[in-house]
């Protein structure tokens, strides 16, 4: 029994059907961790992108090194680091929060590149035109650069959302009860790993195929010339 649901081991099919609700509870945790991790990645990535693009080398160089460091070290170790080291400095977070933070941190290195590439892809003439028209720089950013950068950024960000979803099972090592961890527990108790783990694989496949189709749809629907402003 797990989360109040009994399993029925009379046949493989009955077993699969009886553990589906349990796995779906785990799936909901996976979705929550994905969304929270993605939000953290979007915010931290933006901060990193701004720091990397800073005019002063004194700021941009350490930011670049930090970004490379985050990108080149495994999520698992970053997760262990946050999970064991933060409490030593008095910051005790629930395992789920630590996990989402680790996911966000790892992917901030990737999202910062997306922001940078999205802004760089806009021709210099757009900036020059804005300047010639005497736009203040904040106005240029919000009304000229951002509306053109967003349609380029969103599909790439969508792909990272899917990647984050696939990395959520790593959080099981710090006791987060996401889908894979739930399946593992069912396997530990029934000695049948085959059914729960295959079901997790199938559910993942459905989720990523749906999410990838969503990203592709978004890509075709977004106006390539930039979002119209009212």
């Amino acid at each position: 029994m797990l989360f109040g649901f009994e399993w029925d081991t009379s046949s493989e099919l009955a077993f699969a059907w009886s553990i589906l609700p349990i796995l779906l509870i785990g799936l909901w945790v996976t979705v929550q961790a994905t969304v929270l991790g993605f939000v953290v990645a979007l915010v931290l990535g933006l901060i990193l992108a701004v720091l990397k693009g800073a005019p002063s080398r004194l700021i941009s160089w350490p930011a670049n090194v930090l970004c490379e460091f985050i990108r080149d070290t495994p999520l698992l170790i970053q997760l262990f680091f946050l999970y064991y080291v933060l409490p030593e400095y008095g910051l005790v977070l629930p395992a789920f929060m630590t996990g989402a933070l680790a996911l966000g941190l790892q992917y901030s290195a990737y999202t910062s590149e997306v922001y940078r590439a999205g802004l760089q892809a806009i021709g210099r003439d757009q900036r020059e035109a804005a300047r010639a028209l005497n736009f203040p720089s904040a106005h240029t950013f919000t009304h000229v650069l951002l509306p053109q950068a967003i349609p380029r950024i969103i599909p790439a960000m969508g792909n990272y959302l899917v990647s984050i979803m696939k990395d959520v099972p790593v959080l099981s090592v710090v006791t987060v009860l996401e889908m894979l961890n739930v399946a593992k527990i069912i396997g530990d108790r029934t000695f049948d790993y085959m059914v729960p783990l295959s079901m997790v694989g199938g559910l993942y496949l459905i989720m990523t195929l749906v999410a990838s189709a969503g990203v592709r749809l978004l890509d075709t629907r977004l106006p390539k010339q930039g979002l119209p402003l009212k």
């Binding site: 495994p74 999520l75 680091f81 696939k166 783990l197």
Partner: protein, 223 residues
């Protein structure tokens, strides 16, 4: 314990990580070419198998694949009367290679498709067989284009090896967790380990850059 005493066990773990990375990157590269080319095959069966492989291994999580091979496969084997219990090192290398191979296959397919159509037309005009056109004309031009994404995948693979510690393989991540259990000195151990992974990634990147320069010569016609 002084931090220097951590180095011996950690370096032993790092050596396992290096071996896992090398083996799974090489196997992964072989799978990449096999299924990347397979996806472009005119034979529908080969094409379907390649697409299925790529979608399944890109669409599910590496940790799910690893656990499936390590925990579920023996159960499946038992059902049909086969002993499919894999030692951790085999399950680990297999999961890592199959996973990275699926990503690599898409890179191979993309690079082959990016070769200009005129190249194929010229090969055909010169009466090359499809095989000659692929191996003699398309691949020598496509491989240099594959190298930058392959470099990223190799580093990705190095990072992914940390997950095999979860099926009790004594790699760097496993040793780190063992030491932490023993000494409770988390800050020092995990800082050291992060820098060790970073160092290995820098070396791997440099090697891939060298390889990139080496195959870059194929881009131009040679005899």
């Amino acid at each position: 314990m002084a931090w220097t005493e951590y180095l011996t066990p950690l370096l032993q773990g790092a050596w396992v990580t290096v071996q896992l990375t090398v083996y799974s990157t090489i196997f992964g590269a072989i799978l990449s070419f096999a299924f990347g080319i397979g996806k472009l095959s005119p034979n529908w069966l080969i094409k379907a198998v390649s697409v299925g492989y790529i979608e399944i291994f890109r669409g599910t999580s590496l940790l799910v694949q690893l656990f499936w091979l390590y925990f579920a496969l023996p159960v499946a084997g038992q059902a049909v009367g086969l002993d499919l219990r894999l030692p951790p090192v085999v399950a680990g290398v297999l999961a890592l290679s199959l996973n990275i191979g699926a990503y690599g296959a898409e890179v191979v397919r993309g690079a082959i498709q990016a070769v200009q159509k005129s190249q194929y037309e010229a090969a055909r005009a010169l009466n090359f067989t499809p095989r000659q056109a692929l191996f003699g004309v398309a691949l020598p031009q496509a491989i240099p284009e594959m190298m930058p994404p392959f470099g990223n995948l190799a580093v990705q693979n190095l990072k992914d090896t940390a997950l095999v510690s979860l099926i009790s393989l004594g790699d760097l991540a496993f040793r780190a967790e063992q030491l932490r259990n023993f000494t409770q000195d988390s800050t020092t151990i995990f800082t050291l380990v992060l820098f060790m992974y970073f160092g290995m990634a820098l070396v791997l990147t440099a090697i891939m850059k060298l390889l990139e320069r080496f195959v870059g010569r194929w881009r131009h016609a040679s005899n």
